[in-house]
Amino acid sequence: MIKVEGLIKRFGGQAVLDGIDLAIEQGEIVVIIGPSGTGKSTLLRCLNFLERPDAGRLTIGDLNVDVTRATRADILTARRRTAFVFQNYALFANKTALQNIAEGLIVVNRWPKERAHARAREILERIGLADKADAYPASLSGGQQQRVGIGRAMAAQAEVILFDEPTSSLDPEWVEEVLGLMKRLAAERQTMLVVTHEMSFARDVADRVIFMEGGRIVEQGPPDQLFRAPQDPRTRDFLRQVLATQVALDVPD
């Protein structure tokens, strides 16, 4: 289980996260939506300590720390228990698809190379890229790169995979294959925390949708409830704007 209490992050005095409380059960699929610049990505990056939060408590499994007092070892533990999928894929440019997936197993988990490569091949099979094992990122399409990025996160066997707008950099033609893979992971009850603007994904896949604005959680609930009967006017405004350009879902006034 992952739990965040009173998380605060400031950039230059401005609170980007203004007291976030959040708990995610094992196997739960949580999608965060909201306008740009409201701290959604920052929240994910704080869970992974890519940003150092300014206050709050973080619980991941048996790790329970005051984020301001987290030691180097705590940070490494938090990172090993939270896998990250980046908007821009961020595959290791000097490593093949296979090596990208095996890298963490070899370096962080200290698996023997053969075992790590065998596991990476299994994952490549699952993400449908078995034939691209020896391809370098530069020769892969955006969709393929992001699938390898997800494969790398799968290999970590983390408590949760954090997806930071995984389809936002993709050409439209590659979006479906990446969302398809995420749906398969969701069906296997891989715990996921997803920041996305893909409302149909949120509606179809999420157990719970969170609407964030101004560094706070404004409203949350099952997708049916949040999309059909949003309580807060800010949620309603946001959904109306977004859904006008996406799939037609009826939002009451």
Binding site: N48, F49, L50, L76, R79, R80, T82, A83, F84, F86, N88, A90, L91, F92, A93, N94, K95, T96, E103, G104, V107, V108, Y136, P137, A138, S139, R152, A156
Partner: protein
């Protein structure tokens, strides 16, 4: 009398070949030491380690800002007057010292630029899977920086090989020193120096070939 005494030139080849190893040795040892030193200086600059950073800047400024020949004379003739234990220093050691310090100053800057040039997303991805800073440097950043730095580092190596010829001013009989002696004996200056010029030229061409192969290999991952 022919325009060029080719027989003399051919006769010079085996003599010069005897001094080639010393030239290559000085360059190879100088390059190895300079690389180690430059990596250290570059890391200090990248991490901005307090105190050391300022010292590094001063070091780089001095060794880039003064001629190599002046530095060599300073080490060989000057320093022993100041530091008694250096009276033992021979020309070869002084040359290697000079080459190392001089070229490490240049190389540190290109290594630093290569490290800084590695995309931030690469660092974040490595940290996100739980790598330590050391693992991140070793496995991800330095291999990628190497690809960027190799062409300029090879250029410095080529430069260094040619710069070993300055050792003759410290009384070292290497390729250039040997040629100088031969020329002084035969008075065939043109033949002697064109022969040694071709020697250097061939060595550099050989290295340029190695460089091209190395770059092709390092770029393998980046071909679309």
């Amino acid at each position: 009398m022919p325009l060029l005494d080719v027989d003399y030139m051919l006769g010079l080849v085996p003599i010069l070949l005897r001094y080639l190893p010393l030239t290559l040795q000085m360059a190879a040892v100088g390059m190895a030491l300079a690389l180690v030193l430059a990596c250290g200086l570059a890391v200090i600059r990248v991490l901005r380690i307090p105190g050391l950073n300022a010292a590094t800047l001063l070091f780089i400024s001095f060794f880039r800002g003064t001629p190599l020949l002046v530095q060599l004379f300073l080490f060989y003739y000057g320093l022993p007057q100041l530091l008694a234990f250096l009276t033992q220093i021979n020309g070869i050691t002084a040359t290697i010292m000079g080459l190392t310090l001089h070229f490490s100053a240049y190389m540190a800057e290109s290594i630093r630029a290569a490290i800084v040039g590695v995309d931030r997303s690469q660092t974040e991805a490595a940290l996100s899977i739980g790598m330590t800073n050391g693992q991140l440097m070793r496995r991800i950043v330095l291999p990628q920086a190497t690809r960027v730095a190799v062409p300029t580092l090879m250029n410095y190596f080529i430069d260094m090989i040619k710069a070993t010829s300055l050792a003759f001013t410290l009384g070292v009989t290497e390729l250039m020193g040997a040629t100088q002696k031969e020329a002084a004996g035969s008075f065939l200056y043109f033949e002697a120096f064109i022969t040694v010029a071709i020697f250097y030229w061939l060595i550099v061409e050989l290295l340029a070939w190695v460089q091209r192969r190395l770059e092709t290999r390092l770029n393998e991952a980046y071909r679309r």
